[in-house]
Subunit: 210 residues, 2 copies
């Protein structure tokens, strides 16, 4: 059951705890997308608190029974759910209404950086899609992305699209789809040592105000 | 209602018509995925006929009500549905059982080329995902891809991953998400004139045996 008032109470409590530097939130909440008006007061409060929001798929139902076999509920439904969340944040106006909110997208942004051209084209061509103040790609810099792409060329492509300053090392520890050696993944990318330092911790320290 | 016997009859009829060079098929059939055993005799027949299969999303339900707003049922659900179809063809063993079947994936492969590293990692790490004879990326060459990525860098990335010989020009004519000038899209890619000719028609002539 959704209870935004209790969520606001919990936000007030947790944000005062020592060491709290960000908010963790599902890519959907009980199958409600993040542009549901129910969540408006919560985003307003988080924006006021100045905390970044780390999204993660929780119980994604996207794909339903079609993604049950072969572990596709994790391998495919997770990046899909993250992408749907980002679309609702963009097209649904959350990013426009809260210009200081910053979201971290797991699994290298789902497939948002890959579909962004298609989303831009839709925004230009389809009146129903022209529902945000700016073209979708203008919001790419409102998100941060981790390194869990499981592909060096894919990761380098994403960096080329969103900028190295928007990337933070991810591990996906302790899950089977995670990296055993997440630092090595970063070290193998075609980057300067300064850029590697940003990804390995510098950027995280900045957005978490450590 | 699914009726594979009538599909086989229609296949026998249509494949004899003048000019028929391929089969058009949904990425799901009435919400059944393409590795459903119901479709085995149909794929066996298509393989015997030596016809390539062009897939396209038809009534995708992936994402359900969450992808209804903002035209996301086309912008996002279509590439998702194509990706789910490719996953079932690979993990569900259709590609293994029919080594001569060739599938054309619309919209630059959905997001299959983008998630392939994650799929490979899953195949290696998760027993439930190790359900095909080879690692998923080994099947990338069993698919063809069109140019409907709506992004020059994305398209060049896909070409670098799957090979220029697997790309054919797409237009998505007559849809609003299509290209007004599909040839120009190909001309703007960083390719040799020989490679452009392949994408603009040479490769299609080859697989359609024209």
């Amino acid at each position: 059951m959704l209870d935004p008032d209790r969520a606001l109470d919990e936000l007030a409590r947790a944000s005062k705890l020592p060491g709290v530097r960000g908010i963790y939130m599902g890519t959907n909440i009980d199958n409600h997308d993040l542009d549901d008006p129910l969540f408006e007061p919560i985003f307003t409060r988080i924006e006021t608190l100045g905390l970044p929001v780390f999204l993660h798929p929780l119980a994604p139902i996207v794909g339903g029974s079609r993604l049950q076999p072969f572990f596709l509920n994790r391998l495919v439904a997770y990046p899909f759910d993250t992408t749907i969340a980002a679309c609702h944040l963009i097209f649904g106006g959350v990013m426009d209404r809260h210009p200081n909110l910053l979201f971290v997208l797991p699994h290298a942004g789902g497939v948002l950086p890959n579909l962004i051209g298609r989303l831009d084209h839709g925004w230009n061509a389809i009146p129903a899609a022209k529902h945000s103040a700016q073209i979708p790609s203008a919001y790419l810099h409102r998100f941060m992305y981790d390194t869990i792409a499981h592909s060096k060329p894919m990761m380098e492509f994403i960096i080329s699209q969103v900028g190295v300053e928007r990337i933070m090392m991810g591990s996906d520890y302790c899950f089977a789809v995670g990296y055993d050696r997440p630092v090595e993944v970063v070290e193998q990318l075609h980057l300067s040592s300064e850029q590697r330092k940003m990804i390995l911790g510098g950027t995280a320290a900045k957005i978490l105000k450590i």
